[in-house]
Amino acid sequence: MLDIIVSVLTRTIVAGTPLLLATLGEIVAERAGILNLGIEGLMSTGAVTAFIVTFATGNPWLGMLAAILMGTLLSSLHGFVCISLRANQVVSGLALTMLGLGISGLWGKPYIGRPLPERMGRLNIPGLSDLPVVGKILFNHDWYVYLAIVIGIAIWFLVKHTSMGITLRSVGENPKAAESQGIAVIRVKYLAVMTGGGLAGMAGAFLSTAYSGSWNEGITAGRGWIVVALTIFALWRPGGAFLGAYLFGGIFVLQFMLQPLGVSPNLLAMLPYLSTLLVLLIYGLSKSGQRRMSAPATLGEPYVRGGR
């Protein structure tokens, strides 16, 4: 029994990692007022990019870098369309998803079914990794798992306790006020979207070069959409992203564990969305909750500089 629990928790942390990375990115973008529905496409492109680069060089770190770069690049396209051209963010995001899935399908075709020579290595922490139970659950993972946690804490700190965070949040809440204090609103928005894209690409890289070690189409399996829901579930807070990512990661694991026992995986697959609705409902019912829940005030709205 203990073995099963340890196994479930270990795999939960692993399954939550890509969700955590991409959700953190989406939170950064949305805090600046840009909705990015292209996460699924960005993750998928990140996954294929990382796979190809790792396959060619044998170095999964280079694969990760390439995936981050690709995510940044693709999301800057979304930024250009939404920020500079002020197009509809929903439409552009959906287009980005389709574009990303298309690109990754095309590029990944020759690599389907081929195993990766070198996967992302594990981080062994002497002493800690050997601990019974805890060591297995917490301290016996690959680098991505720890990087995600470090990045998450860093983003939480930056958003909450630095002037940079205040700038980011203000741009999403009231860009006019930010502009009147001399903030380059457009630049902040671009940087936020591109950061978000980079993290989505990194999440994809984890899937192909650490989690599975192979490439196949549909590798993201709807995780990009869970991320969009998760961002709301987390109430746009990095702390909430940790909770949500590992919770939803656990649901992912349970899908496989409970299937042999006759529990339909479809039932569990809908849990992330159901729980997001539930969060919206619970917070929506109380007045103070509504305030805490509310999305960045200008989320999805194009910003016109110096509008008269």
């Binding site: 630095t162 002037s163 204090q181």
Partner: protein, 506 residues
């Protein structure tokens, strides 16, 4: 240790697409002075100050600080030389705390834990000027007066020597206004200078050392405060010459068309906007409503046209009550509406001209029968409107958004009055239009009156009201301060009523 001893704006001009907002304006202010900038809405006060704050660039003219020319390309430049501005609508992030708002874009705020370091600075400033706020409260929990204090602290923390305040008292209670004035006096005795934009004469007289008056983009007067009184200021603000009235058929007003009794209406913010107001409009009569905008005119218009629910009071249109906010019922009763925001509420910009020409009547014969639109009749109607109301358009098959403001307004007016309305409610019908379109629209309104219609005309343009109306009521804070006829009234009287003084009716 003030950096601005003397600031000068020389020959400032600024045009927007079709409006000259500022024409060759000179302004000087020196340390310790409180300068009042007086003028009606649209006189160009805010534009001038936005230029000074680096938000707009002037087409012409220069700005000098202590005798040296400075270039103010953006708010950062202005802040750097020591200019701070507090907008009418506060530039605050509602969900953030006072500290976070002050830290936003503040060069001296440290990267890590900026809130912690700023707290001390805020306390110092609070103590020095009596600016009492809780630095850890989110903005949405603060009253308007407290939010304004946050804005002042924000400006002072950035070492603003010259503070521009745009209509600072419009959101304040009388007590808060007094507190604000105390703060401003403290600041001026400490060597700060203040430019106060206002259209309230009493405030200007109360707090300022000097006053400048703008009208239609021009500087029309400048004086030390001891040299003027309310009457003089009113004349400067409104202008002396009134254009001659348009010729009108010599007809006495007929039966009562619209009768409003004891109307109370709240604004969107839940504050009383119209207070126990009564009025009557007759056949063959144009009743004008004068007043600085924001004194309940908009809410009054919306209530009469069935867009807003009154709290109490009655509206009788030819004896039939309009007791709910029901725009269709208002329409069927014969009330037509030329709305203030013509693009937003007067037309559907993306529909074609002929489709717009029958809005509200599209469901009536002959424009439709049962479920089918009769496009033949609609296009005929649109063609006739375009001809008889001189709408300048390549065809009736264009999207209305491509027409100019004047032509859109002619189309709206034509659509509204071509059905022979009992009552036309026109809000600022010539605002922002060129001379030709303005004259045409005024003449059409008079023609409607001559042919038996009743008109309620809301305008801020006193010239317009004097030229067109049979009677003028002056609205202030939701009430009528008095009713006059254009022939037997002076600009001074109207000006005083517009700023809240009543006059005895003979």
């Amino acid at each position: 240790m003030n950096r601005i001893l003397c600031l000068e704006m020389r020959g400032i001009s600024k045009s927007f697409v079709d409006v000259k907002a500022n024409r060759d304006i000179n302004l000087t202010i020196s340390s310790g002075e409180i300068l009042g900038l007086l003028g009606e809405n649209g006189a160009g006060k805010t534009t001038l100050m936005n230029i000074l704050y680096g938000l707009y660039r002037p087409d012409d003219g220069e700005i000098l600080v202590n005798g040296e020319v400075v270039k103010l390309r953006n708010p950062k430049d202005s802040m750097r030389v020591g200019i701070g501005m507090i907008h009418q609508h506060f530039m605050l992030v509602e969900k953030h705390t006072v500290l976070e708002n002050i830290a936003l874009g503040y060069d001296e705020a440290p990267f890590f834990f900026p809130q912690r370091t700023l707290r001390k600075r805020i306390w110092e400033l609070s103590a020095q000027y009596g600016l009492d706020v809780d630095p850890d409260k989110p903005i949405w929990e603060l009253s308007a007066g407290e939010q304004q204090r946050v804005e002042i602290i924000k400006a002072l923390s950035r070492k603003a020597d010259l503070l521009i305040m745009d209509e600072p008292t419009s959101v304040l209670t009388p007590q808060e206004t007094e507190e604000l004035f105390d703060i401003l006096r403290k600041m001026s005795s400490g060597g700060h200078s203040v430019i106060l934009i206002s259209h309230k004469l009493e405030e200007i007289l109360n707090i300022c050392n000097r006053v400048m008056v703008l009208r239609k983009g021009l500087l029309t007067g400048e004086a030390r405060i001891e040299e003027v009184d309310k009457g003089k200021l009113a004349v400067m603000m409104i202008g002396r010459q009134i254009a001659a009235a348009y010729p009108k058929a010599d007809i006495n007003p007929g039966d009562v068309v619209l009768e409003v009794t004891g109307l109370d209406v709240d604004s969107d913010r839940g504050l009383p906007a119209v207070r126990h107001l009564s009025l009557q409009v007759h056949r063959h009569e144009i009743l004008g409503i004068a007043g600085v905008s924001g004194n309940g005119q908009q809410e009054l218009v919306e209530t009469i046209t069935g867009l807003r629910q009154p709290l109490s009071g009655s509206i009788l249109m030819k004896g039939v009550p309009l007791d709910h906010a029901d725009a269709r019922k208002a329409h069927t009763l014969g009330i037509t509406h030329v709305p203030e925001e013509r693009i937003k509420y007067g037309i559907v910009p993306n529909l074609l001209l002929y489709e717009n020409s029958v809005l509200k009547r599209h469901r009536d014969a002959p424009f439709s029968s049962w479920i089918q639109m009769n496009y033949g009749a609609i296009k005929d109607h649109a063609g006739k409107l375009v001809d008889s109301f001189q709408v300048d358009t390549p065809s009736i098959n264009v999207r209305v958004k491509n027409l100019s403001g004047g032509n859109i307004q002619k189309l709206i007016l034509g659509r509204e009055i071509s059905g022979g309305p009992e009552l036309l409610v026109a809000a600022h019908p010539t605002y922002g239009l060129d001379v030709g379109a303005t004259e045409y629209i005024r003449k059409q309104i008079i023609e409607l009156r001559d042919s038996g219609g009743a008109v309620l005309l809301i305008s801020e343009d006193l010239d317009e009201l004097f030229m067109v109306c049979d009677r003028i009521a002056v609205m202030f804070e939701g009430r009528f301060m008095g009713q006059v006829t254009p022939e037997s009234c002076t600009v001074e009287e109207i000006g005083l009523m517009m700023t809240g003084s009543t006059i005895q009716e003979e």
